[in-house]
């Protein structure tokens, strides 16, 4: 497998190469590149199987590469502490590693890439990521959930609430159907961070657009949703919830 390392810090690049060699003898590091310009030139002329991509390069932000050429090879992003990028990666389920790179996390990421390469699926995640960055705040309107026989797309504006159930999450929709997913409520919360959703309780994430009424009461009170369900608000979330409600008005 041919691997390209794009990283502007010499030691970091050298170190990653070393780690990869130790982890897997079959990996060929074809080049170490430190700039956007050189990366574009290299990728135009060469075929690689996997790219490790740092965000800050010597001549600019690495997303600039995708403005110039289309890359349809698996990419594992690397970053030291770039919270906005990390958020985007999480929301689009794009693989990333935090520096200094933990060998165990690197092993897991490689394994994931290999599994992906074995299947015939195309990688839409990077496309989603780039789209969401290009749209600059414009949001995607559907969430995709892997199911036994494929993917299920759920329109975000139809989600009334998400409820955790022993490691699974049930998503209740306005057409009275229910989708069950292995994604944790916490992941959904991160995914829906820029939408009118609020985690009122450890077990509940609600769509504020479907809220009919808020009732004060013991602890943080309750919310009545438009489908009639009564959702508790944890005491620890009360202030943040009322603050969020005041922003809605």
């Amino acid at each position: 497998m041919n691997v390209l390392i794009i990283e502007d810090e010499f030691h970091a690049a050298q170190n990653l190469e070393q780690m990869l060699k130790e982890l897997d003898k079959d990996l060929q590091i074809v080049a170490r590149i430190d700039s956007v310009t050189e990366s574009v030139n290299f990728l135009k002329a060469n075929e690689v199987d996997l790219i490790f991509l740092d965000i800050h390069l010597s001549d600019g932000n690495s997303f600039g590469i995708f403005d110039q050429i289309e890359v349809n090879k698996p990419i594992i992003f690397t970053t030291a502490f770039d919270q906005y990028a990390i958020k985007a990666f999480k929301q689009n389920s794009v693989d990333y590693l935090l520096k200094p790179i933990d060998p165990e996390e690197l092993t897991a990421a490689l394994k994931k890439v290999k599994n992906w390469m074995g299947s015939s699926k195309t990688d839409l995640r990077l496309k989603h990521l780039l789209e969401s960055m290009e749209k600059n705040g414009k949001k995607l309107d559907k969430l995709a959930f892997p199911t036994v026989d494929g993917l299920e797309f759920v329109p975000i504006n139809k989600i009334i609430r998400c409820e955790s159930d022993e490691g699974y999450t049930d998503i209740y929709l306005s057409d009275q159907t229910r989708v069950c997913t292995t994604r944790k409520l916490k992941e959904l919360e991160e995914l829906l961070e820029d939408y009118p959703f609020f985690r009122t309780h450890r077990s509940f994430l609600i769509n504020l657009d479907f809220m009919r009424k808020y009732q004060r009461g013991d602890a943080g009170g309750h919310v009545i949703m438009e489908d009639g369900t009564k959702i508790p608000v944890a005491r620890r979330k009360k202030e943040a919830f009322l603050e969020r409600l005041s922003q809605l008005q």
Partner: protein, 338 residues
């Protein structure tokens, strides 16, 4: 001499006898703008429509005495200069007008025009001083507010500078470089990796009010790894938290503070290892316990961690954390939150 047109004040004279009003106006109209009223009610109406700054009132009037009127005016228009005028030297009335009407001068009838003019001139001067003082005071307050704002902005700027000095990006890039420089020293490399994770957690979540137990426990594993490198087998850590509690919440770093306390206050040695145990009880409290073997000297900052935990939970739940010390052990219980 101030002319009527440019005078910044008006004199209101109140008397129930029309000839007194006429006499006053005739005497002083060349010097001051004057408005007259023939009773308390009319005076108050005039004040409402056209506030006057110097008020001179006769004492004996039907319906409302001069003192009562000036008392009322003092309440509504405290900046006015008020004077009472009377033909009767009634001590009680005089005292009342001074105490209740807060008057500037007590004038006896019949008045001498020169004398009264100088009293009015002094009153006007006193009014000017009063208003100038007030505007100065206002200006001073404005300056104070500005200075306070400036101070705040300076502090914010300093804070920004400090934040840049410990720019997380720089910190983690350095740790990354350090990692590569360590070559084949596996233990040192693992230490740097875990240390990065611990600091990443601190920097990412320190401002968050609550975090899922699962996240905090992962962080605790990394934190314990660092501590175990320091203390080896002298530090024993056992975590027995069932997965069903992983999605409960608690303030970030609360377990870490308890562990740090245990390490700070107890003997940790080969012969007397410190054993820290984490579990969840039937009331959904997280129980962090350790064998109690206090160090001889008291560590400083005792109690700060614990009161910090109390305060943070206090905002989020009615359920109180508890801290119990017996001869054998120290047991901290903190509520897990929904």
């Amino acid at each position: 001499m101030i002319t009527t047109a440019e005078a910044p004040y008006q004199i209101l004279y109140i008397d129930d006898e029309p000839q007194n009003l006429m006499l006053f106006k005739a005497t002083f109209r060349r010097f001051y703008p004057i408005i007259t009223a023939n009773g308390a009610q009319e005076a108050l109406e005039i004040m409402e429509a056209n506030p006057c700054q110097i008020i001179i009132s006769d004492q004996r009037m039907p319906y409302m005495t001069g003192t009562e009127l000036l008392e009322e005016i003092n309440r509504k228009y405290p900046n006015t200069i008020r004077m009472i005028m009377t033909a009767f030297s009634d001590t009680q009335a005089m005292l009342d007008s001074i105490n209740k009407g807060k008057i500037y001068h007590y004038i006896t009838k019949p008045w001498d025009s020169n004398e009264l003019k100088s009293i009015i001139d002094n009153a006007i001067e006193s009014y000017d001083l009063k208003t100038t003082n007030q505007s100065l005071l206002l200006e001073k307050n404005n300056l104070l507010v500005k200075a306070e704002k400036q101070k705040k902005e300076n502090i914010l700027a300093q804070y920004e500078i400090l934040k840049n000095q410990v720019n997380p990006h720089f910190l983690f890039n350095c740790l990354n470089t350090l990692y590569s420089l360590l070559g084949d020293q596996t233990d040192a490399k693992a230490f740097v990796t875990k240390m990065s994770k611990v600091y990443r957690y601190l920097l990412t979540f320190r401002n968050q009010t609550s975090i899922e137990l699962e996240e905090e426990l992962k962080f605790i594993d990394d934190y314990i790894y660092l501590q175990k490198i320091r203390f080896g087998d002298s530090l024993i850590f056992e975590s027995a938290v069932p997965e069903q509690y992983y999605d409960f919440f608690l303030p970030p770093l609360s377990i870490q503070i308890l562990i740090e306390n245990a390490i700070k206050h107890n003997v940790i040695s080969q012969s007397k290892p410190l054993r820290i145990h984490i579990a969840v009880d039937e009331d959904e409290f997280l129980v962090v316990s350790n064998n109690f073997q206090p160090r001889l000297e008291k560590a400083d900052s005792t109690g700060i961690g614990i009161s910090n935990i109390r305060d943070r939970f206090n905002f989020m739940t009615e359920r109180k954390p508890s801290f119990e010390q017996t001869t054998e052990s120290f047991i901290a219980k903190i509520p897990l939150l929904d």
